[in-house]
Symmetry: D2
Subunit: 362 residues, 4 copies
């Protein structure tokens, strides 16, 4: 970590771009050669992140067509950096003119101004969630790599919105179940309630938060580099780097606090290919290293800061004003946060998989 | 991040050492020159981390005398790397002979063996909490730097153990209050209950978890490097790199989920030296950058994995055995986790403070 | 350093692109905010690197129009990453069909195949000098930064081609003198001889090497980070990363070997603003840190590997064949190497300037 | 690269220590586990670097006993960081009292003061060649790793001192030949002349420079990471990071300049296990990647800056003074530079070997 727009060490991405500039993109360096890759591989995940995909997301309409500019030859990666470009199209900058001179509450307007002394006020600029396009494109490549070389799959879903909770078995839930509803909640009853709650929040000029749960299956024992680059530490960093995320917990997480050691420890039992555990409160990670069980974690996202209600704030001269919200936004980011959580998990796992390969000598 | 024992970019530490080897230590590279520094500056924090400091911590007795081997001349830092060595003294390796051939539940024994194909089984080796000595020594230097150049102070405390919760005002709580009780819980009634609960858990051969809350005061606006090295992302990584930690939340954290946007947003109001907010659900960070308010976060720690009760597990041949726990350990890591949380927060803030200085041109 | 397409730490660039792909480009992360920047700033240096600029360079004709895709708003940098794209236009891939199945001598064809198991054989792919477009674009930004904040200027020129040597005073030579001849040799007599020699080599189907000398003026004392990131060490890395470069020497360089200590040492004398030296055999760097004198170094480039003469080689089946060279190329890379040397010097100095700023506390 | 005392990415070292502090040392992070390692493995190379080993080196007498503090268990590396400590013993600081207030010509006294505003003036402090102890200890571990897993060996020797040149076949020269003379010149006649010249320089109060040539044998094709982390670029950085080194050239180096392309290109010919070349002007590297031939390079070292003759200089108040040299020093660093060059080459190759392993998927 040095300057802030690069993530990973061996499988390393650098993202760039603003909400209302020429476009957004990413350079992936360190992808192994001879992996089959086409633009269609990226598009599947980009379409899950795309605005305007359902009635409960923002109405901003971007096609988000990814162009691979380098690093792929004859349908295969070459080992050289892969540059991906997505042009911005539906960028109505004038819709943001009223934001030029004030700071939206719980947005990054003020902090960007304080840090850089200048701020691209058009739609959040670099702080816009549009920045995550590059992450998702890169995550799709990591997904292909992990699937191909390691049999690892990553799946996330909406497990809570506001007070609506769910009961979902992380061992069994499938992508089809997650994608079967625009809320990306694989519990049909909860999904219906969540959809209703989001619609109601929109009508009310308000917004809702929630929790994304994520599982990585097929992770071999041995990923993670103590003492600082523990697998859960790098996952935590990745998740907290997402817009609107507020926390992270692995396995039993905050819930471990009210258990005793006798209740909480995962007993080892003999498995077919070595020791395994009869419970998974560790969330698949012990001492910072994967233990072969499913890696399990949860990420809370706050209610969208942009709301269609008047709010007290100050302008850039430090004078009180009332903000009348306009522009297009999601009343709840959870459905579109699912591919973001997956992308950061995929990137983290791909990096650690390559790192472990480097030192795991015969 | 590349190999796992280095943390930070400009203020960068590399730790080394195992529980029962020759010692533990750290190299700090990037500390600015001409900072007054003596071994006594390190000892204060090391003593807070030291085992055997009270009846509710492990009885292992280490003096933990820090020797500064380099980087300080005439009582001042020189800009060259500062190496710190703490010799191990009370290392009764033979007390661990029975762990040579089995895997303790919810410890790192199995995962280290799976990753490295070899494991220093004496007292946890590198996975022991003894590894954190180097972090605390380095954190003490970061504390001195931040206090000297930036007026930033970091304070943590035990805010929950098992089901015993507290009401503590993070704006007002003082180091004296925290240190007034061996539990490091600054709420006297809760501290008494926590002390009692820990003693009871020990007698019962069980263990307890809890939550550490941390505040950083005096943080200027502008620290944090979007989009990946957000301040809260690097804090999260630091906290999840601590042994036994299970999660992280900043500001409203997981609690933000059950609030609506209208309830959750922090309104800006005019402050004396620029905009400030009338509430602090953001936890002092917006868009990954500090906003000048107190930085606030919480870290849950699981109940100690070592318990003085028989447990089912397997040996290194994948055969079931019963582990009869021996050795010395803390029935609750929370009191000693407080200086660890502070250390990782101090290191993260020192790094970001230097990073911001580099690019903040006149 | 981890994966190979990133250079620098605080002023950090990541380049991408191949000779005959969609384009080439660079992402610059860490450029301080509020620097005035337009595409024209980049174009000046890109035009000096551009093929087809004179009769003695390759006839490949690329306009090399740089598009800034991000990180600039209202004519100023924002502190967010600056992405630059240059589309490839005159990419006659079919001219390279005959290279698909053989390895050109002293090119990277074989080693790329050996490393990656796949190779973009169209015009050298990633190993083409076309890759340096991104470096030059980024170097132009570093030039603007260094000029603006530090008064540092970097100038390089051709000081030798084959056996034709020059006598040029590095203290006085100007950009105008360098640019006054297509050879970029500021000694008019030598320039004429060099131009003639290059033309002759082309007619003869042969190629020539030479030396670029570079000076950085206005470098303040204090840049460079011992013990590994010495200023000359990072310069050396930058120069050896350039295609066709074969070495590096700073100050007296290899020539120091035949001097004695009494002859070689630079005596300190009192200067107006502190100590200076009466000679500059140190090349402006002592102990890895700039001393305030001009930073001086030299870089040899081998004769172009592509020659218009038949050569013995092997094909991808390890069978001897004769290569009949075609395609367009420079019979001598020296004139176009000048902006490349400057770019790597500028990038190295910008990085170290920011690094020094971070730790140079009041 | 960020702060200057770390080298490498996957096989990564951090050195610390000053000439007259408590000691010097290194932490090696990323060494693969299960490599047999004892302190004796380090001592062999440390003894070659040690002062006082022969009549032509400094008379400072240090035993340089290396203590391994961590990362080795039961005689094998564990994958955890390896800390090595060498205590300083014969540190006569008072011999340097006269250097407290002046700047020695062509030393780092002035630049350290300019950069850090403070300087450990005892024997050069961090800028002393004593700092290289940690590099040599780490290089010995890299040597063992490369020998064990890859069959790579690295050998360097003195090929020139002042005007005395040699004719040595880099393909055939052996360690025994190099070590057979205290000059580390494997050409007996030249060695005799060099020994004589060094003695004469010492008597004369003067000093000499020279060239170290280095070969790496058994390097497989594929090491090196274009475009910036080319193998020769990282070697160049490593060599220019050594005290008193002034340059670097790979293969034909500066000599390539006076050859034409027809003369210089290395023709490919069929080899037993793939293409090879009938000459090796490339020095074993093409396009930044090893090609399977011997890697060959040369490093010039300037005449020792410390001489036993009076010299003009200035004091810390910028007033002219005459320096009467005292203290112990080498009149020619070349013999002791040989293990330093080997160490940096070994570290660079070990790092790239691990890097290539990470991405070289089946």
């Amino acid at each position: 970590m040095t300057v802030g727009n690069t993530f990973g060490s061996l499988f390393r991405i650098t993202t760039w771009g603003e909400s209302h500039g020429a476009g957004v993109g990413v350079v992936i360096d360190g992808c192994p050669p001879r992996l089959e890759l086409t633009e269609a591989d990226l598009q599947a995940d980009l379409d899950r992140r795309r605005p305007g995909q359902s009635r409960i997301t923002t109405q901003r309409s971007e096609e988000d067509r990814a162009e691979i500019l380098s690093g792929v030859f004859d349908g295969q990666t070459t080992g050289s950096p892969i540059a991906v470009l997505v042009r911005n199209s539906d960028a109505r900058s004038d819709a943001y003119d009223h934001l030029r001179d004030l700071y939206r509450p719980s947005h990054a307007d003020y902090t960007y101004e304080a840090k850089y002394g200048i701020r691209d006020w058009r739609g959040g600029g670099r702080a816009s969630a549009r920045e995550t396009v590059g992450r998702v494109a890169a995550g799709a490549i990591a997904r292909k790599l992990l699937s191909h070389v390691a049999g690892i799959e990553v799946l996330a879903w909406v497990s809570q919105v506001h007070t609506i909770t769910t009961e979902i078995d992380p061992v069994k839930v499938t992508l089809e179940e997650v994608e079967s509803d625009p809320t990306r909640c694989p519990d049909p009853d909860a999904a219906a309630a969540i959809g209703f709650a989001i619609e109601e929040a929109r009508r009310d000029g308000d917004s809702l938060g929630g929790v994304v749960t994520c599982v990585a299956r097929g992770v071999p024992p041995g990923l993670g580099d103590p003492v600082f680059d523990r697998l859960e530490a790098d996952l935590a960093k990745g998740m907290l780097s997402l817009p609107a995320s507020r926390g992270f917990e692995v396995g039993s997480g905050f819930g471990s606090v009210v258990m005793t050691g006798r209740e909480h420890n995962d007993p080892f039992i003999p498995g077919d290919s070595g020791p395994t555990t009869s419970s998974n409160r560790s969330g698949g990670v012990q001492g910072g290293i994967s233990n072969g069980s499913d890696v399990l974690f949860r990420v809370p996202f706050k209610p969208t800061a942009t709301i269609a209600s008047p709010q007290d704030t100050v302008d850039t001269s430090n004078v009180p004003v009332v903000l009348e919200a306009r522009g297009r936004h999601d009343p709840c980011v959870l459905p579109r946060a699912v591919p973001l959580v997956e992308a950061m998990a995929l990137l983290t796992l791909a990096d650690h998989w390559l790192r472990q390969r480097a030192v795991d000598l015969p």
